[in-house]
Structures are given as structure tokens and as C-alpha cells.
């Protein structure tokens, strides 16, 4: 097995113009790790344009007409799957969605066999979610088309990080220099990882707030400040991103109870007082009201950007599909 590859490199790069002269010189979007700020900024710039389009009455374009998009979800999802499907349709792709119940993985087929089968159908974009970290990368090695990671295990969820970044950039004007708090179950969260990489790449100050049991080992080496006390972590914050707490964390001795978690790490108006007055509150959804976030905070129209995140999600996914199929549409298919 070689370390190859055609996808993004596995180490962060300096902020330099890519040798190819392309702003996004990657075949796939497997993660934020390894993307340089130029590539990230390019995706966000393209997405900005689609936000405007999505607010018009007629939202469809012919940009990608005739191309085929397969959404392959090995893990249950409603919002991400719908968001990708809408994004594809608005760009004019023929979209097909498969989720775990209908796939032959259940019948024992290996992921690489599935890849070979799908590849033979000549899709142009494959969007995939899988419960195992690294599974989307493995599949991408066998696919000729662009592969977009819609979440793999605990590893990455790049379009979520991009939509979060777009939300912040539009609300705050810039990501650079912002103090951004990510709070909750970081250990099991791909959203947290992708956001850490992206926000660091774009020059934000990233803080993590969580009980020690929900922080993975050596996380501080990824360029974040770690806090266990929420009030300390929230001090002077520009943005607070809450993570969803899975109910199963009560098993495995991560936490004693939801009640205790809410008491110390639930985001309430009271705790938010130490943050900046114009603090932006975000959540990737679906929310557990009264667990990681109080309802009055989630519904605070001045501060909460939660619905806006969903809106940005469609635009960002349109941008990813658009950018990754540009060479193909320009006749450079290899």
C-alpha cells in the first residue's frame, strides 16, 4: 500500500500559490487537514455567490447539467443528506441517494467492492458518509470521480467546517483574529476536528471547552487552548460553537448524567455573560435542548446563527461540487 496520492497531502502547507496555478488543486474533498488557506478561501468565495442564488425565487442553474451525483450514506443522516441533495439538484446534477439500509454492505460486500461497482456507473461526484474514520479516503482511492467526505467516523466533516466558516465570515467580516470556542464532546466529534483545522488555518484563536473525559489525548498539540471550566473558556469569546452530546456518552463512564453536564457545560445566558456582547452562538444540529444548550440561547435571534448555518450548508456544498467538477466540465477529464 503506498502513501501516494492524488488527494490532498497529509501535512499542512504554507500559504503559497499552488504549483498548478489552481486555487483548489485537489481532486477530492476528504478533509480540511492539508488544505491551505487559499483553497479554503476559494471555496468560501464561491459559496458566497451561491448564498445569493439560493435566496432568489428561481434557484436552479445549469452549471453542472448532465453530471451525476451519488450520495452514499452508511450512517443515518437527514440534514446533511438533504443538504447535499438540494445542492446537487440546484446545480443541475442528477442526484441519487443511497443510505445504509438499502446498500449491499449489509450483505457483506467490502467497501472497495462497493467502490468498484459505483465507479463502473461513472458518477461525477460521490458524496459519502461512513462510521469509520478514514473510510471515505479508502474509497476515494478506487474512484475516478470527485469524492466529497460527508463525515467519516470521528475524523473529519469538511463541509460542516466550511459552512461554519462561511457563517462566521459573513457575520463577523473575517475569521482571522476571532476568538472561537468549541465546546462539548470533542473526543467523538469530527465536526470539532475539521473546525479546529480550518479555523487555525484561517488565523482564528481556537479554544476548546469540555470535561476531561470528552477531550482526546494530546489535543493541545493541534494548536488549541484547552479549558475545563466553561466560564473561563467563554471569557471574551467572539463565537461559541456547541457540539451535540450523544446520549450514549452516559455509558462508558464519560459523564455521570445529563443533568450534571448541563449544570457545568450547558450553554446558558448566565454563562454567556463573560463572552463578548455580540457573541455568535452556533450548533451543527440536531440540538439537545436543555443538555448542551439552553432553549433561550438557541432561539436568541440576535446571537444564534443556527438556522443560518443550515442555509450556508447548501451554498457551501454547491461550491464544493462546482469547484471539484470544474476540470471535468472544462473537458480536462483524464
Amino acid at each position: 500500500m503506498s502513501m501516494n496520492s492524488t488527494d490532498q497531502s497529509s501535512y499542512p502547507r504554507a500559504d503559497v500559490a499552488p504549483p498548478s496555478g489552481k486555487l483548489f488543486p485537489h481532486k477530492h474533498l476528504l478533509g480540511i487537514w492539508g488544505l491551505d488557506p487559499t483553497a479554503i478561501k476559494h471555496l468560501l468565495d464561491v459559496a458566497d455567490g451561491y448564498v445569493d442564488l439560493n435566496r432568489q425565487a428561481v434557484k436552479s442553474t445549469e452549471t453542472c447539467r448532465g453530471l451525476t451525483q451519488i450520495n452514499l450514506f452508511f450512517e443515518n443522516s437527514t440534514r446533511t443528506l438533504m443538504s447535499f441533495e438540494i445542492a446537487g439538484k440546484r446545480l443541475g446534477l442528477d442526484t441519487i441517494s443511497m443510505s445504509t439500509g438499502t446498500s449491499s454492505i449489509k450483505k457483506g460486500e467490502t467497501l472497495l467492492d462497493t467502490a468498484a461497482t459505483l465507479n463502473a456507473m461513472h458518477p461525477d461526484v460521490l458524496v459519502m458518509r461512513h462510521a469509520d474514520s478514514g473510510a471515505v479516503k479508502l474509497l476515494s482511492e478506487k474512484m475516478d470521480c470527485a469524492v466529497i467526505n460527508a463525515g467519516d467516523g470521528r475524523a473529519e466533516h469538511p463541509t460542516q467546517a466550511l459552512l461554519d466558516a462561511l457563517t462566521i465570515r459573513r457575520r463577523k467580516g473575517s475569521i482571522h483574529g476571532q476568538t472561537i470556542v468549541i465546546s462539548g464532546d470533542v473526543a467523538h466529534s469530527r465536526v470539532a476536528r475539521s473546525n479546529i483545522y480550518l479555523l487555525n488555518a484561517m488565523g482564528a484563536r481556537v479554544r476548546l471547552v469540555a470535561p476531561p473525559t470528552l477531550l482526546p489525548a494530546d489535543i493541545d498539540r493541534l494548536g488549541v487552548e484547552v479549558f475545563h471550566h466553561m466560564e473561563q473558556g467563554l471569557e471574551g469569546a467572539d463565537v461559541v460553537m456547541m457540539l451535540r452530546l450523544q446520549n450514549e456518552r452516559m455509558q462508558g463512564a464519560f459523564l455521570p448524567s445529563l443533568r450534571e453536564y448541563y449544570h457545568f457545560w450547558g450553554l446558558t445566558r448566565e454563562k454567556l455573560k463573560v463572552a463578548k456582547d455580540d457573541v455568535l452562538v452556533m450548533h451543527p444540529g440536531p440540538m439537545n435542548r436543555g443538555v448542551e444548550i439552553a432553549s433561550d440561547v438557541a432561539d436568541d435571534l440576535d446571537r444564534s446563527a443556527i438556522e443560518e448555518q443550515v442555509e450556508m450548508g447548501v451554498a457551501v456544498r454547491m461550491a464544493c461540487i462546482d469547484v471539484l467538477t470544474r476540470d471535468l466540465r472544462n473537458g480536462e477529464r483524464s
Binding site: G134, L138, G153
Partner: protein
Amino acid sequence: MKTAFVNARLMDPATDFDGTGTLLVNGNIIEAMGKDVDTTSADATIDCGGRVLCPGFIDMRAHAVDPQSALAGGITTIILQPNQTSVIDNDATVERIRHRSVDSQVVSVYPMGAATQGMRGEQIAEIGQMQASGAIAFTDCTQAVADAKVMRRLLEYASHFNALVVQFPQNAELSADAIAHEGETATRLGLPGIPAMAEAIQIDRDTRLAELTGARLHFALVSSRIGVEAVRTAKARGAKVSCSTAAHYLHLNDNALEGYRTFAKVSPPFRSEDDRVALIEGLADGTIDTLVSDHMPKSQDVKRLPFAQAAFGVVGFETMLALALAPVHRGQLDLMTLLKALTTTPATLLGLPTGNLSPGSFADFVIFDPNKPWRISEEKLLSAAKNTPFDTLPVQGQVWKTIADGVAVFEQG
């Protein structure tokens, strides 16, 4: 039929002999060894060209027999682990394997029996009867005997038979469902991690139980600095414990997992760079007693999967010597110390008659060129499967000839 192996750098870890000379083999027995051996009676003479000639390697931990691959790696004695298709936990299975080994007459195979029935960690296996049939040690192989009470009784019972118990030093609770070394790499890749402390805790508990019971205990595959330190401390206290590591742990750290390379998925996991260095130090100062291959052939079908689903293990027979020679070339490890860990020490621990070049011993030996440069190539491996993380790696040191039972059973082409 007498054969004289002349112009060899004879290295016998049993006597610390290291000098240029001749080894005279009569049939399958070593007749003479030394600087001034009379070769006039020899029917054939083989010029070793100054290469090292030492006892054939004894690999204390192999999961498959794979004879051609073993001999290409200079291994003349394989200790087969009990995790076979049907677990080696009874005397009939032990006998079947011993017979097959005698039939093949190429590489000697000695099975370890399971320590507990079905390797389930609940009831002690039939250690006495398995030992009588030829099982030379007892282990649950890929998992620790977790229950302290079961482990205590196992050690007590085994000590009655003076049987060596081999424990896989990894605390089961701290490592449940985890697949990588707990640290920065696993965190970034989103893989559940096993803390190095899981190893030290298991070693600490079981050395105490060994002291309590007076049993002989060996820890297979120590992988971390604190694991090595736990063994060092226990030995200093006088506990009858020993330990091993595998050659691949001397060469790779957890950076090898980058890109979710399942060929680097091993158990215990590749740990940090500091841990890797500590293993070389431990081998050099004798804290780590034996070096093994942990040879585990796995097909592409079970390796080319998402990391969490992929099988553990690498093939190790043919790369063991070259990987272990790297720290020797760097001046971190004495060659004689390395050879001890590959021959005399495992022979002593297991009570085997091989592992030395003394006149009268069986002619199981290997001749290798410690300096020869070559490149590991998965295509050229003779093993049953090609799951090596070392494909294309340039290495130094290669087996020239392997002689088992007086017969040259492998010669470098």
C-alpha cells in the same frame, strides 16, 4: 558427510565467542567450532567470506508456520502461537502440530498452548497434559488474561509444572475497542486510542502476581517506555519476569498510521518516537530479553478495509533481522546482544536444546552478511501474505544461508 564452513565470523551468544574461524558439521551435528579447527576430514568446504555465522534464530512469537519465509529470515525454530483456526488448548492439537513439524523436517515448530480454555480468560487450560505433549509455554496470545483471580491461579498452577506463562501486557478495559496509540496521531485521525499506561498497569499487576506465586512469567510484545520501565523495576526487585518486543517496533512509530495505512495496524499499536527509542535502549541493556517477529500473514481482503475493520498484524519473518540490525549499524545496540535475544535467551526461557554453536549441538545455524544493502519488496517476500509496512524500505543486512538440521534449507539467490 562432513562440511566445513570456513572463513566465518563465528558468533556464539551462549559462550560470547566472537572470532573468525571454522564450523565443522558432521551430518546434523556440530562437531567442532573455533579458530583452529582441523578440516582435513571434511568432504566439502564452504567459504563464508567473513560473514557472520550464528545459531539459527528462535522466534518466540509466530502466528503461522510459513516455513519458506521463516528460513529466508534465518529462523530455524518457530514458536507457534495458540490462536490458530482451532485454538491450541488441548493435548491432541499440540500433538498434531508437533507431528506435522517432525514430518516437515525443515523448520522446528513448537506450539505454545492456550493459558485458558478457548483463550476466554475464564478457566485454566490443561497445562500439564499439553506440556506432556510438547507445548512449551502457555499464553492467551493476543489478549491479556484479564481477571486477576484467574491470572493468580494460572500462575500458581503453572508453577507446579515449572511452565512459562506468557502474558500479553495490555489492560483489557483501558484498551477496549481501541486500535491505535493514544496520542496526537490517533486524535487527529479520529481513531480510538490505547494509552501506553494500559501496558504498564498490566505489567505491574502481573509481576506482583508472579512474585506472589513464584511462577515464571514472560510479557510478550512490550511496546512503550513505561512498559520497559515497569519490567526493569520488576527485575530490579528480583521478580522472575522476562519480556520481548518485535522487530517492527524498533523501526516504526505511530506516524506510520498517517493516511490510515492498515498495513501499520498492529497490536499492541506502534507508539510514540520516544517509546520506540526506549525499546532499543531496553533491548540494549537487557531489560527486553528476546526479539520476535510476531509474524502474522493477513490477506488483502482483511487489510484493505477501513482502519477500524482491518485486521491487525504484519508479516515479520523475512524483515526481522534487517530491521533489528538498523540500531546495530547506528551504534545503539551491540550485535552479540541482539543475537542473544534471537537465540540463546529464548532457548533458555523455553528449555530448548538449540540456540548455540557448541560441539554436539544440532546443526541449526544461519550465515548472514550484516552489511549487505537491499530493499524490502513485498513482491519478493516468500511469506503466505504480503502485509508488510516496509515495502521499498532500504535496509542493511541479509541472510546468506540457513542451515537446519545440517541441511542448507535456504540460500540467497
